[in-house]
Symmetry: C2
């Protein structure tokens, strides 16, 4: 069978299978024409990941930044959505194997499974220091954060003092920095008004970075500016401090032990383990080394895009795992398929750098695009505009824009719902149940005379 | 100590403790002036329960109909919020005991813990047929419903057929009827467009009522109209059919067995077990028999309001457990406390019937107020207006109104997020995992030739 031809059986219609409904996979699906598309995702929705940390800090609700894939593609009858886990890819028989459904054959395959967290330490690190990749992660972090505030407020009200409310974020990349900023803002907004017994100095937020500067992907001058801004806001930043141990009650930095029941992991990622089933060359973090046309060698119609692709730019540097890269890779691959370009006639994928942005807080951001550098309010406005446009690109301009701006400006209170009391609630509180631990802290709270 | 005087120690400020942040408790807290209020709730939010079923059927998002109590009372510094479980009430020492915090003493106590589901059968009924009382219930029901549709779509796509998608709602009261109507509408909206392999007749919705008519609280003529409307919509209504057994795979009605993995309980409620700790007269369903001034006998400053109060109207009929009753009871009690009315000078609580409403579907409702009866579109408009005004009473008129109307009219897709894959997903699918069960259903789905 001629591998270079897209279609094995010309009398039937081409089927393109896409694994992953992230930025890369979704963009490809939206651009594909005149082919049957099967889009497989583990969840039923696309998440606008750049804003996921806003859900984790209860600034936005899940429905503000996520859309069901079935709704996104309602107007594209050629796209079929399958909510399932892909367990393996058989590139020779051209089939993907799913956990719950029958295997699905393909003429062309776009592999965009994204990445997951990488923990250098033992497996228990993940449970002690959850990360922020999926909506489920974000909701779990939100519950933990809200419960932490409730717990601290209750302790302070009962006993007049409380174990300092300490959040440790491991990893000084954009995620870590944005998480820290958002966390601090929510703290400031809620402490005093929502939690009258708490004071701002009950809250301490620590950003831990193994390297010598935060935002290593950015220009050193911008890293400096971001660092200064964070410290002005009251964040403790610890550079050159890799986490050497993570436990449920804190994190070890070399010799220093930081006690905290709220450690969040934003340090490292590795490509989806699904890519291992392709049986091709991978880099140490599991990314597949793709050809200039984003295919795997010997398979002109199997593409790997997004965080899972190890792809070099013109200067031979690997492209970062960010949304703009995945989106333009998705477009590129869709074009090759739409035009049925045979390998010989493909121009290599080229990523035009649209620059990088990171918010530090309201009115505070850093931006760089080629030689241009910006920081402070200007960069923040730039950030807002680009993100609103990215969001609008996805669905329902008016509504998204209205709701999102409103929510963002008002710290949408509706986002602060605690819909269940997870185990940690009971765990964290088990030591001061009524009757279980009497003694000085248990004095009934009677009217102040 | 003079029980009839509100304040035991006149030199200090009165403390009023309110148990429950539902309609009754929240209204009381909002009306109390010049006293310290401690509002205790198990969750951190107030839920607009009349619309809870919209969340359960993914028509609205949790944040559309729930507000954090701390935000609601941000502008009322005399109100302190405590998120905790009340384990018991000591009416003699005038203290409430909490699961996690120190006991709290009170001068006046308003007990408004609401009600929970009553299952006539064994305990396992609850796990097989979850009810709809809290936001957590609603979210769980939503996950189950969405997963059921995904599962049915996958089966149909793989095998061309599927076990009929059957939802059974037990209980023909307003909750059951509204749930059925909303479920059917979501089904109609999603089937075909979101789930291309499913057809409307794959979905079957069955409403089971033990009594001889649905909406027993309403005028028989309206019950008839509602029944006719439901049947026109394609709902199967089974009257005079008490559920005699509930299992994970279906429900037994007398001799008839209905297979369904989606049984929802809307049949009966009982008062919160917390009321038992008061040690006073209760009715069979656990409601406290209150005095004309809503107090418990011998304790002029301990009030029971809302679903937990067994309170008779002018004609000697017990008041129903609905929001308007709880709200006006909350206002009444707050006035007594604000005016420090001694028992001798209290006029008994009188509920002015504002009527009852129940939606059957978009443009379909029944309403009655005193002698007035309405149904169809007119009643539905009435329902929309009253609910919007009730909502506006709670928070942020503009936003709530805008968001809510918009969401309601658009079946807000954002509400349809599946943020985790609960156990049932794996349970329900474990019988068709790849490799585990080969055979005829496992044929690879290849291009239709």
């Amino acid at each position: 069978m001629d591998e270079s031809a897209l279609l094995a059986h010309p009398m039937t219609r081409t089927r393109v299978v896409i694994i992953g409904g992230g930025f890369g996979g979704m963009t490809a699906a939206r651009c594909l024409r005149d082919v049957d598309v099967v889009l497989i995702d583990r969840t039923n929705h696309h998440v606008f990941q750049p804003l996921l940390y806003h859900v984790a800090t209860a600034a936005l609700s899940p429905s503000d930044i996520a859309w069901p894939l079935r709704t996104v593609f309602r107007s594209q009858p050629n796209v079929r959505i399958v909510m399932d886990d892909v367990v393996s890819i058989d590139r020779l028989s051209r089939e993907v194997h799913l956990r719950h459904s029958a295997p699905i054959g393909f003429d062309a395959l776009i592999v965009a499974p994204g990445s997951c967290h990488a923990y250098p330490g033992q497996d228990n690190w993940e449970s002690c220091a959850p990360g922020l990749k999926t909506m489920a992660d974000a909701i779990q972090l939100r519950e933990r954060m809200l419960l932490a505030f409730e717990e601290a407020e209750r302790q302070k009200a009962d006993t007049g003092s409380q174990n300092r409310l300490t959040f440790v974020i491991v990893g000084g990349g954009p995620t870590g920095v944005e998480l820290v900023g958002s966390l601090l803002e929510i703290g400031r907004a809620a402490i005093g008004s929502d939690y009258p017994h708490l004071r701002l100095d009950d809250l301490s937020i620590i950003l831990v970075e193994a390297g010598s500067r935060i935002l290593p992907g950015f220009d050193p001058a911008l890293s400096e500016k971001a660092l200064a801004a964070l410290e002005r806001m009251g964040v403790t930043v610890k550079l050159n401090n890799p986490a050497t141990a993570v436990r449920a009650d804190g994190v070890m930095l070399g010799e220093e032990w930081i006690a905290s029941t709220h450690v969040i992991w934003a340090a490292g990622t590795k490509a989806s383990p699904l890519l291992d089933t392709l049986g091709v060359d991978q880099d140490p973090s599991g990314r597949v080394k793709v050809q200039p046309d984003l295919t795997i060698s010997g398979h002109p119609w199997i593409f790997v895009i997004g965080d899972g692709a190890y792809c070099l730019d013109q200067d031979g540097r690997p492209l970062p795992g960010i949304a703009p890269v995945a989106i333009s890779q998705g477009r590129y691959v869709a074009t090759l398929i739409n035009e049925e370009r045979s390998p010989a006639h493909r121009s290599p994928f080229v990523y035009r750098d649209r620059g990088m942005l990171a918010t530090i807080g309201r009115g505070q951001a850093v931006a760089q695009c080629g030689p241009v550098r910006a920081s402070g309010l200007l960069a923040w406005v730039l950030w807002c505009v680009t993100h609103i446009f990215l969001l609008i690109g996805l669905r329902n301009p008016v509504r998204v824009m209205a709701e999102w701006i409103w929510s963002y400006l008002t710290f949408k209170p509706g986002a602060r719902l605690l819909c269940k009391q997870p185990a940690i609630w009971h765990k964290k509180s088990s030591n001061n149940r009524v009757g279980k631990m009497p003694g000085k802290n248990r004095k009934p709270l009677h009217r102040a005379a």
